[in-house]
Every structure is written in structure tokens, then in C-alpha cells.
Amino acid sequence: MKKTISQTIPTDFERIFHPQNIAIIGVSAKDGGTGFGNGMFRALKAMGFEGKIFPVNPKGGNLDELQIYKQVEDIPEKVDFAIITVAAKLVPEVLEGCRQKGIEGAQILSSGFSELGTQAGKELENKIQQIAAAGIRVVGPNCFGIYCPKSGLTLLPGPDLSRQTGSVAFLSQSGGMAIDLAHIGKWMGIRFSKVVSFGNGADLRETELLQYLADDPETKVISMYIEGIKDGDAFFESIKYTIKKKPVIVYKGGLSQAGQRTVASHTASMGGSRVIWQSVLKQVNAISVQDLNELAQAALAFSLLPSGIFKNISVIGGGGALGVSACDAAEALGIEIPPFSTEQQESIGKFLPKPGSSAINPIDVANPFVSPQALKEILLQAAKDSRVDLQIIVSLLYHYKVMATAMGLKVAEVAPFRELADAIRDVVKTTGKPVVVVLPNPKKGLDDLDITEMLVLARREFLERGLPVFDELPDALRAIGHVNGYFGQRNANNE
């Protein structure tokens, strides 16, 4: 079995993820150039990358008043990281130049390698591997590169990603998945430490990147999209080691037969059988998810909830059916919604509108216009039950549209989401028990775009106060279930 390339000198990942200076090889002197090189140049500028950028092209010239160097070797300063976008057949020579220049790592965005399935493609990739083994780390080829909000590195089509740094890492064979999750994270509230689209993974790939992230202090949660792996034993050991330290969420693509055909042509690696993959993921206590949404929601929960198990919860919402569906969904995940004692129901009941409400748990507030102040009191009372580990509030803010229309105002001017966000933040502070917010919106039509806008604003307010937000209750419960599953197993293994 071919082992991953081993190097004698340890890699300085700091220079790769937080480079001071970058070379972009393959820019065009034309400012309006539409190639990957110019795209990356503009994207890094737009992201506000603080380091120096050295454009490189054999033809020379200028780009944005910067001199274009004819080759990497001509750059008069030390360079940490290179972005290579030249045609595949030119990549080995350029990469070798980077290595000789002492560049620590390079991301190769160009495609035309092993993913083609041709002999020529495979040979080019072998050359990349050989150069990498001689002393430069490679991300790619056939990838979208690295996104690191802290340093300002961004993925290929990503001039508008967030610069807010956080604790979630994402490793993806697929560039499309990487850019999609980076965008989802921006509004959903997932803050990234590092996102790596590693494409064909000629050098750095799942196993080594996992190993690095396991000990990366910036990363607390790791998520990954994988199609195939190079070395099953090494991957197994690496993920097992990592999961003892931090949660690893895995979306394994290509488990269906049709999916496996796509995988074979996509990244030139085997998909592996479904049952074995599922077993292996269970064996190492990975959080196994079925799609990118579930991955994002799990990452959000892991990053914003305290580490622990939330076995018993309270649910505050409107409508009896909501309570029933909450109980059904929770039970399937081993989460309980214990009914409150009579005394507690009385103390909660004081703040509930009558008639029609219920204080049992789930708490049915019956009326969507219960004030944030009253909701705060209800949450404070519910948290007094020592069994409750976490609270979920399903806020029906969209109903304020009716009120706003009657008042001739916009829903965002009427719905009290800021007050609610403050109230919930205070509850978390007072009780020490996390609160998860659910903001459903059944009104998504053209005539209700103002509701969508209001909810985007509301979500931002909650997130700014560290409160995780989900669109639907089952999503929230499923994500909490993943947190419980991981820490439950980890605790059991440590006993």
C-alpha cells in the first residue's frame, strides 16, 4: 500500500494558513482578466488580505500597479504561500520553482490531472507528488484552495466570505461543497477556523489535515466531506485520534451506487461500500450526516453549545401540534421533554395568556404576541426544573406581519426580535442553561419578502448574542442529538 508522502522536516502550517506573503502564479496583465489567477487576486483584495501579493506571469507587466514577476524566483522577498493557476502541463515546473524559492505550501487550483483518468493526467499528478515529497506542501490540484478568515485567504470564487474567525474547520474533497458551506456559514452563524478544499489531494488530504486540525488550538469542531480516501488504515487511526479530542462531523458522499459512479470520475478515488463506511464511522464515534445542511446544522450546534449532554429539555412555542411533533421528534433521538410539576406549572402559568395556553412542557404560549419580557420569565421559571439541561424557544415572529400591516409599518419595525434576543441572552446568563432559538417561516412567497428580511435581521441579533438559530424544530433537535451522541459516547469510552 502506498503511504502518504512523509517528510523529515515538520510542516510549518502557520505559513500556509496565515501567510505574510503570497505569490499568485498565472495572473494576466489585463486587469479584466477572467482566469483563476486574476479571480484570486481580486478575491484576496476584496477580502482585505493584509499581507503582500506578488503576481507572477512569464510575460511580466503590471497588475493594479503591482509588478508582475516573470518567475517566482525573481520575487525579491521571502514568500510563504503560492497560488498556482497555470495550465496543468506547466504546473510541475512552477511548483518546483516555488519549492526552490523556499515557499512552504502551494495550492494548485488548476485541473487536468488524475481526475481525467488519463495516463497523462496521472503522470502529471505523480510529478506533483514527487516535488511535494522533496519539500513543499501541496493543496490540490483540482481544488478551490484554502479559506482562513483570520488571515484573509479565500476560496476560488469567494471574494465575499466572512472575515469573522471561529472554531469550525471544514475539509472537503469537493470545491463546490467548500464554497457552499463557507457561504452558508456566513448567514447561519458558523464561524470558521479553516476551510480546505483539497481536490485530488495529491499531497495534503484527509488524513494529514485531520491530524493537523486535531492539535490546532483554533479548531474545536471539525467537519468534512469525503468521497474516497487514499489509505484506509491511516485515515482510521487519524480520525480515531482526532475524535478523542474534538468532534468530527462526516458527510460521506458516494454511498449510493449511482453516487459511486460519479465519485469514480469526480476525484479518482473509490467510494467504498456503504455498510463498511457506516460501521467505521460508528466505530470511531464520528458524527455521520447525510447532507450538507445536516452537516452545517451540526457544526453550528457543536460550535455554539457548551460541551455536554442535553438529555432533558424544555420547549416553548405556540400551538398544541408543535408540542406533539416536538415530543415525537425528541423521543426518536433519546431526548426527553419531561412534564413539569404542578407547582412549577403554576409559576409558569402566571406569565401565560389565558385561555388556550399550557404550562406542562412543551409550553404552549397560545398567542404569538406574548411579550419578550413574559417569555423571559417563562424561560427563567422553566429552567428552575433541575432536570432541564437546555431550552428551545420556537419564536413565531412571522406573525407580526399581520400587526405591522394593520399599523402601516414594516414587519422588521414591529417584530420585537432585539428585545427577545436580549431577554434570551439574560436567561442564559442567569440560568447557565443554553437556549436554542427556532425561527420558522411558513410565509416565503413574493408578497412576504419583508418577513424573510426581518428573520435574517433577527437571526443576526440572536447569533450576535451567541444563541444558535435553526429554521425548524426538527433541525434543532437533530443537531442537539448529534451533540448528545458524540459526548455520550466519548464519556462512555473514558469510563
Partner: protein, 228 residues
């Protein structure tokens, strides 16, 4: 653990150009890894029947044993619940007649009684190498596919968890007057099946089907080892 004797059996089969071990050989490999198998004796001559039967004790099971013959049931090569030496001799004749044309012998073994049948095994995955399987045996294996896998090497925790993972795991509990299965022994079997896969590269597949719970104790009643 006697890895050397297991390797000797396998090398012998490979030298003969075979792709599989006979049931008898398979069980010797298992026994070399401390996996409980039926007490059994391989007979090539009818004169051996009486002495062997005394040693094993009635009731007996007698089977045709040949690496070349699969699906023993369909070919009338299995005789169960043999209670006298006459029955045993007749069974010997019938089995030898059924084996005509194949290189084979008669395997006499203790008859294991137990209502609960399990299946265990090993397959070699292209990416993850040897993986151990556990599931419900008998007709349920194929109908329900109620099975779980773990990549080798297994630790005890892995073994216990993979047993709990199948839907029908309650069959291992004390149910309907039967004692709870000895999960300690079951774990050891799973762990050691994994070890065979790790130790011996030439082993492609292992099939322990059925493993019968005799009271609380599991015993491998039939086994097949497929070679690379």
C-alpha cells in the same frame, strides 16, 4: 494463540492450489485462535467410526468434508441426531457415496443444541482492510440482513458495541427461559476473528455460520475460510 499452526494449514491448502479450506481445516484455524468450535474428528475409513463416536458421544452429526463441495445440505451430505453406531456407519457410507468424485472425508462432530443461531465472519474491504461481521444467524441472515461490522483490530468495547448494534440484539439477553449469552466469550470470538484477518494476509473471508448458543456459550458449528 497458535498463529504458526494456522499458517501451516493455510499454506498447505495454497500449495495444493485451493481457494478455500475445508470445514475441518477452517475450524482448526479457528481453534488455533482460541475460538470454540465443535468437538470433531475427521474419518477416512469406516473402521474408525465406532471409536470416534465413543470419544465424541451421541447424539452426533456427520457431514461430508471437502473444500470442493459447498451447500452440503442440498447434496444430502449432512446427517444429524445420530444415536447408534449402526446409524453412524450407514451415515458414513451414504456420505462417502455422495462425495464420489471429490477429494473428501467424513467429519463426525458433537451435536450442539440451542435455539439461538448467530453468524460471524470477516471480509476484507478494499479501503479498510479486514472487517469483522456479527449478526443473527439461520434464515434471518439473508432475509433481514441484520448485521454489524467493525474494522479490525477490535477492542472489547468495539465487540460489545457491534453486538448491541443489531436490531435483534435482545436475542442475547435472558429471553423465554434461555440464559443470557456469554458476551465475554462472544467478544473474544469477534476480536480473534479480526486477529486472523490481520495476522494472515492470505485469508480473504471467514464465515462462521452458524454459531449456536448452547445455553450461554457460543460454539462454532460450521465454518468456511476463503483464501486469496
Amino acid at each position: 494463540m497458535n498463529k504458526e499452526s494456522a499458517i501451516r494449514i493455510i499454506n498447505n491448502a495454497l500449495q495444493e492450489g485451493r481457494k478455500a479450506l475445508s470445514e475441518y481445516e477452517s475450524k482448526q484455524v479457528l481453534a488455533a485462535y482460541d475460538i470454540p468450535v465443535t468437538h470433531e474428528i475427521l474419518l477416512t475409513d469406516k473402521t474408525q467410526v465406532e471409536k470416534a463416536a465413543k470419544e465424541i458421544n451421541y447424539p452426533l452429526v456427520m457431514k461430508g468434508c471437502s473444500a470442493a463441495v459447498a451447500h452440503k445440505t442440498e447434496k444430502g451430505l449432512i446427517h444429524v441426531d445420530i444415536r447408534t453406531v449402526e446409524e453412524a456407519r450407514n451415515a458414513f457410507d451414504e456420505i462417502m457415496a455422495g462425495l464420489k468424485g471429490f477429494d473428501g472425508a467424513v467429519l463426525m462432530q458433537e451435536m450442539v443444541n440451542g435455539k439461538r443461531e448467530l453468524v460471524m465472519g470477516l471480509s476484507r474491504d478494499d479501503q479498510f482492510g479486514p472487517c469483522v461481521m456479527f449478526g443473527l444467524g439461520g434464515i434471518f441472515t439473508e432475509i433481514l440482513r441484520d448485521i454489524s461490522f467493525r474494522k479490525a483490530p477490535l477492542d472489547k468495547n468495539d465487540a460489545l458495541k457491534m453486538m448491541r448494534e443489531i436490531k435483534g440484539h435482545k436475542i442475547l439477553d435472558a429471553v423465554r427461559g434461555m440464559e443470557a449469552a456469554d458476551t465475554e466469550l462472544l467478544s473474544n470470538i469477534l476480536i480473534n476473528v479480526g486477529r486472523i484477518g490481520l495476522d494472515i494476509e492470505q485469508v480473504q473471508e471467514i464465515d462462521l455460520n452458524p454459531v449456536i448458543l448452547s445455553g450461554a456459550k457460543p460454539i462454532v458449528v460450521d465454518a468456511l475460510i476463503v483464501l486469496k
